[in-house]
Subunit: 555 residues, 2 copies
């Protein structure tokens, strides 16, 4: 038989390290079988229940500290709980070994060169600390989680306007000037830069790069929600812009947990614009191609690291000398006879063109309601059932495509027309005879025509003769969708980053640390400079008093 006894301390604040150490100390006392020291959230309580603690008679709110012991005797239980305050004080004594500022303002006064603030307080206090750091013109590394999404958006917008980074909330890791923040592996420095909306993604990739003999220039974490629609990738775009302009960075690796489609598109467009080789690993996001323009799409972190290292060896500097291709300043219209070619094109373009309408789109809002809507980007699979009732497939009968081609040529909003021509058995005996004259009409009307030609020299139509006649008509020929995409991506390059540039010293790393003390020690052990703030929650964590203080502040 064991005895279970507990204490509830309403609204008490101790940092998580203190709680973990108290639990370990209690569990190590004589006669104690198991101990739990938790903030009484449902998840934490559930864990105790599955460890055979009976919590049925305990009333504790999520903000309350619950201390519970399971012991061999009533005496042992009483002894254990009686030592809680002593154990908490011992921890306090160890921490207070040196002078520590009690506020951010105090820290900046003693340590004015600190450009960075690391914040790892409990989530509900973190935004206030971050605000103070941003107001003082410092970049923020925000490790804390459980910060509301709306606060994240507000902080990041505020940072962006001031040219300040807000990495996080819930940002586990970053490497700045070779110093790891939060969780970070010791890896070699080199010419690969990382932007990651994924903490372990950044760590696993940086370790793999190191093992392959290469290294990192900088690695920016953004927090796992940065690529959600509400945040819009603010931090990722800032970091990308920084790495694009950095002379020491030859290759950039973009990593994210499943991103929002529109944010992924925004980030990929920015990645194209920077011109440097970029490796993209968006976990759970279907890559549109292996390579498109300066983007290479990886499958998994190991693959991403390998690609980045290979590119970093072959692209020591950016290639800015190629002649600029004719830009695309109007709509794209794809008239496909092959469903899968249309699908591949749709995937590839929707990563960088929005909105993109298609009769293949999974999203009903992106089905083309009126194909000829001016300026709309449209990819049509004309081999779908709705187009082939009582009509031959467009691989055999060119009439449908000829009529649509003429319509696109006459539309002043159209800049690029995409076609596929699939040769071989069963297909039209001479597609160029019928289509090339209409392609010529389109190119003479000022349209760019990209044509994906699928076939072999052995096919009955003769690949070479078909290719020659389409080329003579002014079409640009490609032998796969990937190659066509490649050329489109280059033409779609966009304008520069429109916000204030982020700047920080490349010489040193100096930071103020608020929250977990171990992060301070870790920075110093890596040769960075850091001061730890002896932070306490305002009003001792009393919610009502805090609300009152906040109200007074605002007035």
């Amino acid at each position: 038989m064991t005895i279970t006894r507990h204490q509830v301390r309403p609204g008490a604040y101790y940092d998580s390290v203190t709680l973990m150490q108290l639990q370990k100390a209690l569990a190590a006392l004589p006669g104690v079988v198991d101990a739990g020291v938790i903030m009484a959230t449902p998840a934490n309580c559930e864990l105790l229940v599955t460890s055979d603690f009976d919590l049925t008679a305990i009333a504790a709110r999520p903000d309350d500290l619950l201390i519970i012991v399971k012991t061999e005797s009533e005496t042992a239980a009483g002894d254990a709980l009686a030592q809680v305050d002593t154990l908490l004080r011992r921890r306090q004594d160890v921490a207070d070994k040196s002078y520590r500022p009690r506020s951010l303002r105090g820290a900046f006064g003693n340590f004015p060169t600190a450009e960075w603030v690391l914040i790892s307080t409990p989530g509900r206090y973190a935004a206030d600390v971050a605000d103070e750091a941003l107001d003082a013109g410092r970049h923020v590394f925000l490790y804390s989680d459980n910060v509301p999404l709306a606060e994240e958006v507000r902080l990041k917008e505020k940072g962006r306007a001031a040219g300040l980074l807000v990495m996080g909330p819930d940002c586990g890791t970053a490497l700045i000037n070779g110093v790891g923040l939060g969780f970070a592996n010791r890896v070699a420095r080199g010419n690969i830069g990382i932007v990651a909306a994924s903490g372990t993604g950044l760590q696993a990739a940086s370790v793999a790069i190191h093992r392959l003999g290469a290294g990192l220039s900088q690695a920016f974490g953004t927090g796992g929600r940065d690529l959600k629609a509400e945040v819009g990738g603010i931090t990722a775009l800032q970091a990308l812009d920084w790495l694009a302009r950095d002379e020491d960075t030859a290759v950039i690796l973009l990593i994210s947990k499943p991103p929002a489609q529109e944010v992924a598109g925004k980030l990929l467009r920015a990645a194209q614009a920077c011109g440097k080789p970029i490796v993209v690993d968006f976990i759970g996001y279907p890559p549109p191609a292996r390579r498109a323009g300066n983007l290479t799409f990886a499958v998994g972190l190991a693959d991403a690291a390998e690609l980045a290292v290979r590119l970093s060896q072959t692209h020591p500097a950016s290639n800015g000398s190629a002649p600029e291709p004719r830009p695309l300043n109007g709509a794209i219209r794809g008239l496909f006879s092959g469903g899968t070619l249309a699908h591949e094109m749709l995937l590839g373009l929707q990563a960088v063109v929005a909105p993109l309408y298609s009769n293949l789109s999974a999203d009903p809002r992106l089905r083309p309601p009126e194909h000829s809507a001016s300026g709309a980007n449209v990819i049509l699979d004309l081999g779908e059932d709705e187009y082939t009732q009582g009509r031959l497939h467009p691989m055999m009968d060119n009439d449908l495509r000829i009529r649509r081609l003429r319509r696109e040529s006459a539309d002043p909003s159209v800049s690029l027309i995409l076609l596929d021509v699939v040769l071989g058995e069963g297909a039209h005996p001479d597609p160029a005879a019928e289509l090339a004259p209409v392609v010529a009409e389109a190119t003479q009307a000022g349209k760019q025509v990209d044509l994906i030609l699928i076939g072999t020299e052995e096919d009955p139509q003769g690949m070479k003769s078909q290719a020659e006649r389409f080329t003579a008509a002014g079409a640009t020929l490609f032998y796969s969708v990937g190659l066509a995409l490649d050329a489109i991506y280059v033409r779609l390059r966009q304008a520069n980053y429109p916000y204030p540039a982020v700047a920080f010293s490349r010489e040193t790393f100096a930071a103020v640390n608020v929250g977990l003390e171990s992060f301070h020690d870790s920075i110093e052990s890596q040769g960075g400079a850091a001061v730890h703030v002896d932070w306490r929650p305002p009003a001792g964590g009393d919610e009502r008093l805090m609300a009152l203080l906040a109200k007074m502040k605002k007035q």
Copy 2:
């Protein structure tokens, strides 16, 4: 001023080639500006409207044949329409140059060695013809589209039970014994087999393989809907089984338009089981890894072809001599501290394990309601917000994982426990000290423990010492999720294909063709044997009469 005149022929049947040729003949007549010959479906009518035909006064149903001419004069319009029947008859005369059976039964009588039936009639008649072919024990290549999904399922289940293939409906292409069916490119023969739920996907990949100097054993089309949930990949699984047993096939390429998640999983499990190297290109489906077991995931058709060719050169025969690993015959439980590692594992496992529960799952039905539900496969990211309120991150505090590890060890339904340990700055100073003893308890309890260890030799914890202690505890170590998945895939290999095997002669290709005459000519030009059936719709296409005939048949 132009004149527009038209005819509507209710319920008239002509094949699509005839309609296309009539339209071209009418448009070529003197005084004719443009002509349209269509089955009056909404899509076809819309096309005429956008070509400046005024259809407002015309009443035609989708089953009606609409013939319309735009001419320079009233006389030209009258002359053109007066020639319609003559033009239709001329076409007929050309076609009737030789004796042709009028029914499938007649064709089989004259040509009993035909193993294949190609069907390209209009969709509403196609299922009846396919039924007749299957009843006669023939494999079916079903080019026709607009066949209802329920009919597809019924035909494929019927075929499967008899060991007969039903490729299609809407199957554009296949290559059997070097003979292309429907649309097919002339490509070299070789040791790569293709299964494709994507017509142009199959064509583009086969062309790319040919251009890279390799070739195809067989290529099976399945129709674009085969990997939808309703059909369940019946044809793809038959074809995969055939290629798995074929001595001439060294590498298999699986291609599909976006598949249903559960069907993709079923097909990938079958692909694992076959042991041969398989290249997978599911367009729009996020690949779980670059490589996992015998599966390699491609990004796009060009990449898929390159991978298949590379593997076909290095895997001339299947590797059946490796020792069989310890199989997994129970549940998988992942207890991750790294969110992205958990994500990668989730992606990789959900391709082959179903159902797979996770707090990261996008599908709320797959959130783990009761983690310990016996037999459930679960991947947990224990670094998510719900687990870290008032508690250190599991990279710093092992308590949560220790308690859960003990629970999984005690669960008799669990076979494999997955863990990650991320070393580096900020992380726990010695995770092996706390976790390795609990890992040892698990392995002693008969569990397999796979541990993904992320770190460098320079990390403060010392990679080598950590690795040694986890290995001593009985864990199997991996340095990336991809490598861990690799090993899991091999252990998950499953039983053999449970349906009658598909068989056909490898010596010759002999087929009966019903529908588009050009497909018959194409087979003969490739050295195959074919007979064309002079097929007409029952009751001349009269719907009411057809219904009556069907009723009489059933009685």
